[in-house]
């Protein structure tokens, strides 16, 4: 299940990058280096992971409190999930980020 989620995040990250190829190439044209583009893709992945796993953890804590009154115990687990989710999203975006130079190719800037 974790591997499937990891693959899905990587896929979404790569598709998102392809959709925004023009934006990325135009940033490159303004002087952004490949490493700047990679950092941006990784940061976006980490933020997406943080928001997603944070919201999931908060929902879990709420459900634990509602069902069994064990919110305090669930908070620790939710924090672990949030950190783990963020790190996993960051790692999942590492592959697509490495290919950002190829995605942000000059050809996408030419007229169509």
């Amino acid at each position: 299940m974790a591997a499937l989620a990891f693959g899905s995040v990587a896929d979404v990250c790569f598709l998102n990058m392809r959709e925004r190829a023009g934006e990325l190439a135009s940033l490159r044209a303004t002087g952004w280096r490949a490493r700047d583009l990679r950092r941006m893709v990784l940061l976006e992945g980490a933020l997406t992971g943080l928001v997603g796993s944070g919201l999931g953890g908060a929902l879990g804590v709420g459900l634990a409190a509602w069902i069994g009154g064990r919110a305090v115990a669930a908070v620790g687990l939710a924090a672990v999930v949030a950190v783990g989710g963020t790190v996993a999203a960051l790692l999942a975006c590492a592959g697509p980020a490495a290919r950002v130079g190829a995605v942000a190719a000059p050809a996408v800037l030419a007229q169509e």
Binding site: S26, L27, R28, A29, T30, G31, R33, L109, A110, E112
Partner: protein, 246 residues
């Protein structure tokens, strides 16, 4: 002061072997600092490729591109990125970031770098210069095509470039939008003392420049001097004859 541009014998091919396509074939021309020069030709003539080679977005296979005395074709990746921060690009497909405001789009080129000037003040000043002082918080979807292109022009100028490369900047605009954007580019060139290279298939846009380099099938087949005030002397007939319908 605008940058001098010297292009000598530039070749660029795509693909290899028998299927190789020559996008540029021995293109040569010079542009004096501060001049406005049009690269005119039909689709597929090599205009975009030429601008991308001059702008260090593509590497030439042969030949020399000197900009402000520096050989662009010999630059490494880091040097190229630093060079691109000293020039500006405007594209037909505007390629701004839809989720950001006009002001944030103008600031985007500066995000990874330290600057020794007030970047927000400069971006606001540029938006005012392109007539969008009241729209700086507007998202792109709230702006017309002409307004978006003006944001793109402001973004291209935020690094105070000595050379502005505009690739079909009016290609998606109607005639009033075209007039507005071309007039703006010409005014900003004078104000900022930049060199301006415009790739266009539109003879009316080219005619606003002082010189036109005409490309066909990757070759610079002629140059027409139009004078500071547009077409003068016998240039008109020659220009129309060469640049006529695609």
């Amino acid at each position: 002061m605008g940058f001098e541009v010297r292009v000598q014998g530039v070749d660029k091919r795509y693909g290899g072997g028998a299927g190789a396509v020559a996008a540029l074939d021995g293109v040569s021309f010079d542009v004096r600092p501060g001049a406005a020069v049009a690269i005119q030709g039909p689709s597929g003539s090599g205009k975009s490729t030429l601008l991308q080679v001059i702008g260090a977005m593509e590497r030439a296979d042969a030949g020399s591109v000197l900009v402000d005395g520096r050989e662009v074709t010999a630059m490494g990746d880091r040097e190229q990125a630093a060079y691109r921060r000293r020039i500006g690009f405007v594209f037909q497909r505007i390629h701004l970031i839809g989720a950001l405001s006009a002001l944030d789009n103008v600031l985007a080129p500066l995000v990874p770098f330290k600057t020794d000037f007030d970047r927000v003040a400069r971006a606001r000043g540029l938006l005012a210069a392109v007539g969008l002082r009241d729209r700086e918080r507007s998202l792109l979807g709230q702006l017309s095509g002409g307004e978006q292109q003006r944001v793109a022009i402001a973004r291209a100028l935020v690094g105070a470039p000595g050379l502005l490369l505009a690739d079909e900047p009016t290609g998606n605009l109607d005639s009033s939008g075209t007039e507005e954007v071309v007039g703006l580019l010409m005014d900003l060139r004078e104000e900022h003392r930049m060199t301006l290279l415009i790739a266009t298939h539109d003879p009316e846009v080219a005619a606003r420049c002082e010189r036109v380099v005409i490309l066909r099938d990757g070759r610079a087949i002629d140059e027409v001097a139009l004078g500071d005030e547009g077409i003068e002397g016998g240039g008109l007939d020659r220009f129309i004859g060469l640049a006529g319908p695609d």
